[in-house]
Subunit: 169 residues, 2 copies
Amino acid sequence: MAPRNTEQRTRDVRQKLRNEVDLWVASAGGEGDAYLVPLSFYWDGARLILATPANSRTARNLRRAGEARLALGTTRDVVILEGPVTFITRDVIDDALATAHAQKTGFNPRQITEEYVYIQVIPQMIQAWREADELSGRFVMRDGRWLVGDGENGDAMDTIAAVPAGQSA
Amino acid sequence: MAPRNTEQRTRDVRQKLRNEVDLWVASAGGEGDAYLVPLSFYWDGARLILATPANSRTARNLRRAGEARLALGTTRDVVILEGPVTFITRDVIDDALATAHAQKTGFNPRQITEEYVYIQVIPQMIQAWREADELSGRFVMRDGRWLVGDGENGDAMDTIAAVPAGQSA
């Protein structure tokens, strides 16, 4: 199978962001002790919303670092995302956003006795690759901008499907 | 589906270690900047062998930290491992081990122009869970010891299959 072009990778990334339920969250303490857990997420087209106990190791690490590195998909169909994190407490999160998160992930952090916190990640860098032959050209977003199409808008993005393969939009 | 007992999880973990080709490697720099990549690995029954460019960010992070946190499988069928890392240069690695690694992973770091290094991880802690109902009882190894069976020896381990479910060996 030939390496995917940026258009195809972008479509695949957006599809994964819509359809996948979990991702891997890497984080680290201030002394460089790495941590890694899977968490569920909701993607609203521009940001990912995670939720985790407010005092969990991941929450503490991300609060300190201020940014997250996330991985979606499998080790042979990788999507890597990096971006700054914003913590949103349960009492101030937008109700529609929290509802969408609960519907997508199947759990509602607002109904859990333990204190949970929402974590918003706005990706600034996204890479997508399958095998070694796709390492070249793996960036689909840099500096918060999709390299192809208007990634901020799902409808605009869908028009990319009409672009012939190999032809840059 | 009922939560798996420790015997079943241990069997599943060992099967994944034998059969999976890649895992997720979390690492961090000395200032707590987390990193995450997929790498291929070989499991010889007691240790994992990875290989990566000697000057890659993962190699530099792991060399500094001296230990790794790894994840196998999917976000809904998780195996998490932690253990100390040892770096083994290409000129001193055991030939049979390097050959087994190449056969398993499909690439031979000894034949690559760029300087690669092997990284040995001897797990001291292993957890396995699928869904939230399996978070309890997720440890299958602590302090380098399998909680059930003789994990150092694949043959001994196989006898666990004869232990009735729910009955601890």
